[in-house]
């Protein structure tokens, strides 16, 4: 059994224009790997090529170049796909089938015919009550949920979810996050795309960031967040009198509170001084960087690198 759930090697995709047949490459030789049992986030802005890449993973469209290995096999092998679940972007299903019939259909397609499992999945995604409702009466959020359920039904070892949280309200988003974490805990590999970085930051082990069809950055989420760290802290103190010089810039808040930002290098001394001056320390919160900062920086760097290259080419 291969240790990698997904191996993407130098995969490119071009689309021919409908009329002119002129080819346009939208994914440029991207490579990344997803280990088994991992929760992997595939992030990037609109039009980055996430959906295009995901469709190639599932043999819906074929790469123009490069190779994809899924669970040690090829995506074109139905036996491999039987172990993979897929939630497409804006999912849509047969509209006259009920929720239960729909899940039964997908269970059978993946070689499982198990009524109990269907009921379990309906309960998992919170569609118990809508079991006998035809899907044409479903709201966007409900379609997203049934989509998630069909992706996870069967003996899914790897779930590939294209924007699983889009179209959901805050409660729904949290619910989907929990389902993803729970599935991962059950040993399934979870791969999902998103352009909402906080979602990815909250639940992923590793991420790949795409921009304009190229991978800008892959890595461990915690490392990336730490790298983007700001090295300063938010400090709140309470008391009356004169603040020490390191806190002179603090702004006053109701109830004799004062708050402001202090560089981590001077933090210890500043806190000591404040306490000596009779202030109580209310809170000290290290400022964390976010994936967003790191992402924007990554895009910025690559853009400036590109600009330099172009400038050199012009010379």
């Amino acid at each position: 059994m291969s240790a990698q759930a997904i191996v993407v090697e130098a995969v490119s995709k071009s689309f021919a224009h409908d009329w002119t047949l002129k080819k346009k490459e939208v994914v440029h030789a991207i490579s990344f790997q997803v280990a088994r049992g991992e929760c992997f986030g595939f992030v990037g802005p609109n039009g980055a090529g996430k959906t295009t890449t995901i469709k190639m993973l599932l043999d819906i469209i074929r790469p123009s170049a490069g190779a994809i290995t899924l669970l040690g096999g090829r995506p074109s092998d139905p036996k491999v796909r039987a172990r993979v679940g897929f939630l497409p972007e804006r999912p849509y299903f047969y509209e006259h089938l009920t929720a239960e019939e729909t899940l039964t259909l997908y269970a059978r397609l993946s070689g499982v015919d198990d009524r109990r499992r269907v009921r379990e999945m309906l309960a998992l995604v919170g569609l118990d009550a809508a079991r006998d409702v035809a899907l044409r009466r479903f709201s966007k959020g409900m379609l997203q949920r049934i989509g998630l359920a069909q992706a996870l039904i069967g003996d899914t070892e790897l779930a590939i979810l294209d924007e699983p949280m889009s179209g959901l309200d805050p409660v729904g988003r949290r619910h989907v996050r929990e389902i993803i974490l729970q599935q991962r805990a059950a040993g399934r590999t979870m791969f999902f795309s998103s352009h909402i970085l906080s979602d990815v930051e909250a639940i992923c082990d590793r991420v790949a960031m795409v921009h304009e069809g190229r991978i800008m950055l892959t890595g461990d989420v915690h490392d990336l967040v730490a790298r983007a760290g700001k090295n300063e802290s938010d400090v709140t103190v309470r008391g009356q009198g004169t603040l020490p010089p390191a806190m002179a810039h603090f702004s006053a808040r109701p109830g004799d509170h004062h708050e402001g930002v202090v560089g981590n290098a001077a933090l210890q001394a500043a806190l000591d001084a404040a306490m000596r001056a009779g202030f109580a320390i209310v809170s000290v919160t290290p400022k964390r960087g976010s994936l967003e900062d790191e992402f924007l920086r990554g895009i910025g760097e690559s853009l400036s690198a590109l600009a330099t290259k172009e400038a050199e080419a012009v010379k």
């Binding site: 679940g85 849509y92 089938l97």
Partner: protein, 256 residues
């Protein structure tokens, strides 16, 4: 259950639960009922006329349903993106195409059965006893529908529903008069090139005229059993070849 059966079943349920299906059955009923006034036109000939008009009505409804469901069977699912989750499961693309075909065909067969039941009720209500001949017509109707659905599904694998329905209807209209066109072309003063061309078309295009036993039936002539068998075999073979080509094409396509 095999993927083909699972998909055929879903396609069938999806089709018969759509409102269009009910509307079409209603149209069939109206056409069959509408043949009653023509029955009263000629004394002695009433049953002939009734059966003729009723059978033609059923044939139209079946043809319409075959084309309507067939042309969007594959392209419609690509458009709506329902195909993504199906293909992403263990189904192969061929299983998808064949499953869609059988689902649509089953739907048309059920419509035909319902319409024939209505026609039978009408004919016996008017004092006729045509049961066995109606069965021949139904038999032919089923294989004709299979071939027409296959044509529609084939086009559905390569183009959008609008163009597909145009092409399918054109082939059907040519196909129902293929023998007559062939007969006419072989007459004396047709240029040899046209003759050769028509000959090729005659051999290659789907021959829907083979399934037409309505004339025999209204004249109370039993069609020869050999003809019934040959037409069915021809229909099955043609359907098989078309579906094979459809699968080959669909295998190579990007589904977008």
């Amino acid at each position: 259950m095999s993927a083909v059966l699972v998909l055929a079943r879903a396609t069938f349920i999806e089709a018969v639960r759509a409102r269009v299906f009910l509307y079409l059955l209603a149209v069939a009923a109206l056409m069959i009922a509408g043949s009653v006034p023509t029955a009263e036109l000629g004394v002695g000939e009433e049953l002939r006329l009734t059966t003729d008009v009723a059978l033609a009505g059923v044939a139209y409804v079946c043809a319409f349903l075959s084309v309507f469901l067939g042309v969007s069977a594959v392209s419609g699912e690509v458009e709506k993106r329902t195909v993504y989750t199906v293909i992403a499961k263990a189904a192969t693309r061929s299983q998808f195409v064949v499953g869609k075909f059988f689902g649509v065909w089953a739907t048309v067969i059920v419509a035909a059965l319902a319409a024939y039941a209505m026609a039978l009720a009408l004919v016996s209500g008017l004092g006729g006893r045509f049961a066995s001949e109606l069965l021949y017509a139904l038999w032919m109707q089923i294989f004709e529908a299979g071939m027409l659905v296959a044509v529609a599904v084939f086009f559905s694998c390569i183009s959008k529903p609008l163009l597909s329905s145009g092409l399918t209807v054109a082939l059907y209209l040519t196909g129902v008069s293929l023998k007559s066109i062939h007969f006419w072309a072989r007459k004396s003063d047709t240029p040899p090139l046209t003759q050769a061309l028509v000959e090729v078309f005659y051999r290659v295009l789907p021959n829907f005229e083979l399934f037409d036993v309505r004339t025999e039936i209204v004249h109370h002539v039993d069609p020869p059993l050999a003809a019934l068998g040959f037409s069915a075999l021809y229909g099955v073979a043609y359907t098989g070849i078309l579906l094979g080509c459809a699968c080959l094409i669909f295998h190579r396509r990007d589904l977008k």
